[in-house]
Each structure stands twice: as structure tokens, then as C-alpha cells.
Amino acid sequence: MIELHLLLLFMIVGAIVAVEVGDLISSVVAVGAVGLGLSLVFLVLKAPDLAITQLVVEILCLIILIRATIKRDLPLIKSGRWHFNTFSTLLFIVVFLLLAFISLHDLPGFGKPLLRVASNYLREGFLRTGSANLVTSVILDFRAYDTLGEATVLFTAVMGVMVVMRRIGRKKE
């Protein structure tokens, strides 16, 4: 799995560049590189549906973020008393990674999933739904309520964007 580790390292480097680089457009482009790397990781992990979706979503996300930053390329303000903030954040991250490193040994090992529910889907998915793609059979048949909730969240977010972005406000009496 050397290619998986290389891609993960590429994503981490891209994320650090996105966090630390000076202007906003470079930062947005770097986070786009991280998202496209994630798409490749999904391909390596044998999830082609996720890779396609991640590719499309990443490009849309880039368009939205560039729309937010294209005319507003302001220099970042770096002054101020933020040493305590930096120190506490780094301390929390170190403690978090230590605890995660200890507790990761209790997970089932990498490459050996439990498959307690999913083995049922793997066995009966084609017989009960007739779909050759088992991911589709899960999201559209076994867990269709999840998809309904997803559509609800999506439409709520779209309504929120339209309400926030509209130009004409309420008329004053």
C-alpha cells in the first residue's frame, strides 16, 4: 500500500500549504489539490463511486470558494496577541494525536473490517434489489431514508443560500 501512503502524505503537505500560504487564491488552489488527491485515494481504496462524486464536488467547491475570494485578495493580518491561542491549540493537537495513537490499536486492523452488517448486503444485495452496484443498492434501497434526509438537507441549504444571497431585502414601510 505504498501508493496510499504517498497520496496521504501529498494530501497532508497540500493541507499545510493551504493553511500557511499568504494569499487566499493560492490557499484555495492548494485545498483543491487536497480534494483531488482524496479522489485518487478513493480510487486506490476501491471506491469508484466516491471518486467520481468527490471529483465533481471538489470542482464545484473550488468554484464557490474562488467566487468568494476573487475580488477580495486581502493580505492577512498577523499581528496581535495570539501566542496563548497557538500554544493551547498545539498542546491540544499533541494530546489528541497521542491518545489517538494509543487507542488506534483497539480498532480492527487496517484491511480487516468487521463487515457485520455489510456482509448481509454483500450476500443479498443483488437478489433483493437487482442492482449490480452494491453501493447503489444500499443508498437507494436498504438505506433510502438516509438519501431522503440528504435531499432534505440539500434543499434546506440551497434555500439558505438563496435567502442569504438575495439582493432585494424587505421593503421598509
Partner: protein, 112 residues
């Protein structure tokens, strides 16, 4: 196991960005990085060594497939992540129109 750990390191980079940066767009970028890390963790947890993609073929027999359940859940989560990102960016653009800055320490009109 090291793949899990690298995924958590990616999560921590996003967390540092959210907690430390003062620019609203940087904070949104940190949220996006955290979202990538969590999606990646789910898919890593469902991976099986020498597994195949969960798509049946007519002339092949199922030997061992990766977990289709986590892939379905992450597929939902990716699309919801796009919607929430769009909503946050819309609010950030409105804040910029009102205050003329992305600096979160200057967005203080409601401060009591």
C-alpha cells in the same frame, strides 16, 4: 495502522487552521480539510486487503469485496458537505459586504 494515523494528522491540520487563523476563508478551508479527513477515515475503516470494488460482474464470482455500507454513507456525506460549504461561503460573502473585512476580530458589532 499508519494510514489511520496519517488521516488523523490531516484532521489535526484542519483543526489547527480553524482554531488559529483569523481569516474567515481560511476557517472555511479548515472545515473542508476536516471533512476530507473524516470521509477518508470512514473509507479506510471499510477497506479490505486485496478487496474488490463492490460492483458485481456477470462472469465473475464474489471473492472479497470492500464494505459497501461506509461507501454509501460517505457518498451522502460528501454531497451534504458541498451544500454546507456553499451556505457558509454565502454567509461569509454577506459578512464581507457588511463589514468590509474577513478578519474575525473586527466582526464585533454584536459583541455585548
Amino acid at each position: 495502522m499508519s494510514a489511520y494515523f496519517l488521516c488523523l494528522v490531516l484532521f489535526c491540520v484542519g483543526l489547527y487552521c480553524i482554531l488559529r487563523k483569523r481569516n474567515l476563508i481560511k476557517i472555511i478551508i479548515g472545515l473542508a480539510i476536516i471533512e476530507y479527513a473524516v470521509n477518508l477515515f470512514f473509507v479506510l475503516a471499510g477497506y479490505r486487503i486485496h478487496g474488490r470494488a463492490p460492483i458485481l460482474a456477470a462472469d465473475q464470482e464474489i471473492v472479497n469485496m470492500v464494505d459497501p455500507l461506509v461507501q454509501a454513507i460517505v457518498l451522502t456525506a460528501i454531497v451534504i458537505g458541498l451544500a454546507t460549504t456553499a451556505l457558509i461561503v454565502a454567509i461569509a460573502i454577506r459578512i464581507y459586504d457588511k463589514y468590509g473585512t474577513f478578519d474575525i476580530t473586527r466582526i464585533n458589532k454584536l459583541k455585548g
